[in-house]
Amino acid sequence: MSAPVLSVRNISRSFGGIRAVRDVSFDVQKGEILGLIGPNGSGKSTLFNCILGQLPPDAGRVEVNGKTVTGMRASSLNRLGVGRTFQQLSVFPQMTVLDNIILAGQEHHGTMASRLFGPSDAGLTEAADQMIAFFRLTHLRDTIAGSLSFGQQKLVDAAMAFMAGPSLVLLDEPAGGVNLTMLGSLKERLTAYNAEHGTTFVVIEHNMEFVMSLCTRIIVLAEGAIIAEGTPEDIRSNQTVIDAYLGGG
């Protein structure tokens, strides 16, 4: 088996006396869609932030394609091929959809100087149009992103995460606040992208139906530690997971 795209090794992080993440380790292979679930306060977001360099872990390390990236700045991480979406709306509200998508790719083309003296679209209009079409947003291409519906902005956010052709994308609650019709379409688009490009996904999600149908493997966190790991079918019938969610056991 080739080296994992993402390798998380013994990550721990505390806030005062609270151990939010406790010695968490896992690998994610190329093309895998890994779901990271757990009840509120289980440490999912803290772990996510530790992986993405937004929170320095107290211990442990993170590797992307064999390179240690622990504590690396988000922009450097992105240039290494790590894309992400946000739980909250995270488009650039005063720019058009097209400009949002071009921005997501422009920093991966040329140098600072070439971006100043080169074309204003950094030569990315065609690629951006393709990405917009992939997410079926063509009719909104020249619309100001801030005026779109919540679900549409989620799609723009996702399209931005994929624009630079990342090898790994971390999706933070992609289904949050999205209506049912759009949810199905979002899942279909993510699955299609994964199949076409072999991109690896790590998904944090509360919507069980969404995560069970999207992911190939699921890790369950509770009180900062991994309590279960397996296929969606395994997780669905795992008594420890059921207890953790219901507060029993």
């Binding site: 992400r84 650039f92 921005l103 679900g151 019709t181 688009r189």
Partner: protein, 326 residues
């Protein structure tokens, strides 16, 4: 049709700017030249604040740095054109250094950091008499002479300033329409998201300060030969606030906002002089009314009128199709 409206308006504005001093006396020409110079300073602040979203209350201090550097060098016998790159480079470097606090503090705190910097520059200019002449300032700086074209006459200096303003505006236009401009806007609108998309927000913040400050320095370098006298009081915090007012009144983050804003702050008071003692009151009231009704500045007034008379543009072009992918 809309494609040619903007170039036509720009062409018209340039023609009006060329014709503006024709038949006017020295004073009006001086006021018009001041308008151009402050437009340059406001253009710089517009990049830092309007496009990149970094508050700065120190633009007058960069005018001072540019002005005093040019003054000292031209008094030492340098030609203005040789002194200019030195002044601009100095402002770029100092602006870059002022950008560092912006990496740590934001909003009101950053405003106070820059305000303190402006005060620091003012105090240095006032206290270091051996270099700056202290409160008495520096006098007798020559205006640039290009052999066949001398800027000694007020009209000539106006056209010289107009040329530089157009060049500065073209460079600024190039910057804001380039991918840099898009990244500056991203920094303003959502710096965390921008960083996650590979935008080096630290470098961009520093550049926003450095380029904006360089424009301030250019304005200062033009004030020196215009007035041929500079003193610290011309570059105090109140003047930085005036430049901020120009950006806000004109429309922060809009390319032509600084020209309109500088027009309101520099030229409008001249039109109100007939009201004698009341002109400052009327001027202040006009600015307040303007900002209340068009918070996006005078540029925003255009959109407001367009929406009123031609109907509001529909931002959601998807309503018929529904908010779904299929």
């Amino acid at each position: 049709m809309r494609r040619w409206i903007r170039p036509a308006l720009i062409g018209l504005a340039i023609i009006l700017a060329i014709l503006a001093p024709v038949g006017q006396g020295n004073y009006i020409t001086y006021v018009l030249t001041s308008w151009l110079i402050f437009s340059i300073a406001a253009m710089g602040l517009n990049l830092t604040l309007g496009y990149a979203g970094q508050i700065s209350l120190a633009q007058a201090s960069f005018m001072a740095i540019g002005g005093y550097t040019t003054a000292l060098l031209t008094l030492a016998g340098w030609h203005w054109m040789l002194a200019l790159p030195v002044a601009l480079s100095f402002c770029f470097v100092v602006g870059l250094m002022l950008g560092y606090p912006a990496l740590r503090v934001k909003g009101h705190f950053l405003a106070f950091v820059t305000l303190a910097f402006n005060t620091l520059v003012f105090l240095i200019l006032r206290n270091e008499e051996w270099l700056t002449g202290g409160n008495y300032g520096l006098v007798g700086m020559p205006r640039p002479d290009f052999g066949l074209f001398s800027t000694m006459k007020q009209h000539h200096f106006y056209y010289f300033t107009l040329t530089i303003t157009i060049v500065a505006a073209v460079i600024m236009w190039w910057i804001v329409r380039s991918p840099w401009g898009r990244a500056f806007k991203a920094l303003r609108e959502n710096p965390i998201r921008a960083e996650s998309l590979g935008v080096d927000t630290r470098r961009l913040t520093l550049l926003a300060f450095a380029i904006g400050s360089t424009y301030g320095g250019l304005a200062g370098a033009l004030v020196t030969p215009l007035v041929q006298f500079i003193e610290p009081a011309s570059f105090g915090v109140a003047h930085s606030l005036r430049i901020l007012l120009m950006v806000v009144v004109g429309g922060a983050g809009f390319f032509f906002g600084p020209f309109l804003g500088a027009g309101v702050v520099i030229i409008l008071p001249e039109f109100l002089r007939f009201t004698e003692g009341y002109y400052l009151i009327i001027y202040a009231a006009l600015v307040i009314v303007m900002l209340v009704f068009t918070p996006k500045g005078l540029i925003g007034l255009g959109a407001l009128l367009r929406d009123r008379f031609w109907g509001k543009r529909v931002a959601r072009g998807d309503l018929k199709q529904g908010a779904q992918l299929k």
